[in-house]
Symmetry: C2
Subunit: 215 residues, 2 copies
DNA sequence: CAGTTTATTGACCAACTGGTCAATTCTTGA
DNA sequence: TCAAGAATTGACCAGTTGGTCAATAAACTG
């Protein structure tokens, strides 16, 4: 997608910068000054493109999530079978560009603001709804209808939990351990036939069959 | 445990007040003024008992967690079999006094500060270490040795994820749904023999065998 | 009771922050 | 070229916050 005006370029730069500052400073420590500086501009410019700090953060959250959404969508497009779709979702959520301590921390920090910002709450709600919808569609061919909701919830909860731990930045798990845990869950909850959709990279990464230990 | 001096009483009051303010305002919005007011005192008194705001928050986190720790410990004392110990841990983490949106939100908010406060990080580390140790000891009699770590990690991750969702305060799950999800995991990962340790209350709450849907 | 320690208060300060605004520079198109 | 509009800047403001401090009240002690 091409960026039409300078205005749109600047807006993109600024929300990107905001999210990057959040990765090290948290929402708490992300000031307009720091965002502007990180984008190589003066502070005033930020409020020229965004009505308020709150709105900047909301756009930053939306933008950051749209990258993850696109990552998953691209993998889903390449997936054929239900089990491939399932693993497209899971592997997309643990792609190195997203599942890393700084990004998880920024996301965690934004989550902590959700109860006090109705707009953030809406965004979060959309994210969860899309995740559930994706999972339901993939699971439809893999599990009895009356178990799909429980399994979808189990998977999203595990993903959330692993992201949370990664966001703590200590005692977190690397991509390998995280995917091994997802592996463990899916194998035991859905059975061997749900494992055929894993990518070759994932199989290689996990060196199949090994257990996953705690950190 | 009796509180010896007035000083200790005040300190307890203040960290309790701090945690309660966090439940509605988040770490970000918890100011010394608000904490003092919530404790019915003047702002100056807070810094008379705690060296700094950071230190107050650290003590508040420790205190809040010690309540949860005691809850689990009390249930563990009443537990006999490994499966009873397992469910003591799980049910303790979803006791109504702890697993509720305000408390989960305060905890979530504190987690978001972990990467920028080495002391909070240490506390978080101790919490996770205790959880893993408790789970390992309970699981030792329920699963093959080489699967224990994976299962312990799965359980803590699910608990973290469910707390996170509850902390978002919207789209969160009630105690019943959360425990149903833990039920689902343990039954499929450990088998029916691991289900005997559930309390009568939990069995009644779940009306056994029903699936858990997404919210 | 006198004196010493401890608890408590509220005024005060310096730093920071989000937001406003007038002035200036840059772009653009007729 | 030149005027109109957009982009950009930095000074400025008002409110808030963590933290300090001197003064006062209360509690304790010998």
């Amino acid at each position: 997608m091409a960026l039409r005006s300078i205005s749109e370029i600047r807006r993109l730069e600024l929300k990107q910068a905001a999210f990057e500052v959040m990765q090290t400073e948290g929402v708490q420590g992300t000031t307009l000054e720091k965002v502007a500086q990180h984008a190589g501009a003066a502070k005033g410019i930020v409020l020229h493109y965004f009505k308020s700090k709150k709105q900047l953060f909301e756009h930053a959250m939306r933008h950051a999530n749209s990258l993850l959404r696109d990552e998953v969508a691209a993998r889903l497009r390449r997936a054929g079978s239900p089990s491939e779709r399932l693993w497209a979702i899971i592997e997309g959520n643990f792609a190195p560009a997203f599942y890393c301590p700084p990004v998880c921390h920024a996301w965690l920090s934004l989550c902590a603001e959700v109860p006090r910002d109705r707009q953030l709450e809406r965004i979060q709600h959309v994210i969860h709804r899309r995740m559930r919808s994706n999972l339901r569609s993939a699971l439809a061919g893999l599990a009895p209808a009356d178990e799909i909701d429980a399994i979808a919830l189990g998977i999203t909860t595990l993903i959330d939990g692993l992201w949370l731990r990664a966001g703590l930045q200590s005692g977190g798990f690397g991509q390998r351990e995280a995917l091994a845990q997802m592996n463990d869950y899916v194998r035991h909850r859905l059975g061997e036939e749900a494992m055929t959709g894993r990518s070759a990279e994932l199989r290689a990464l996990l060196a199949d069959g090994k257990a996953v230990g705690g950190g």
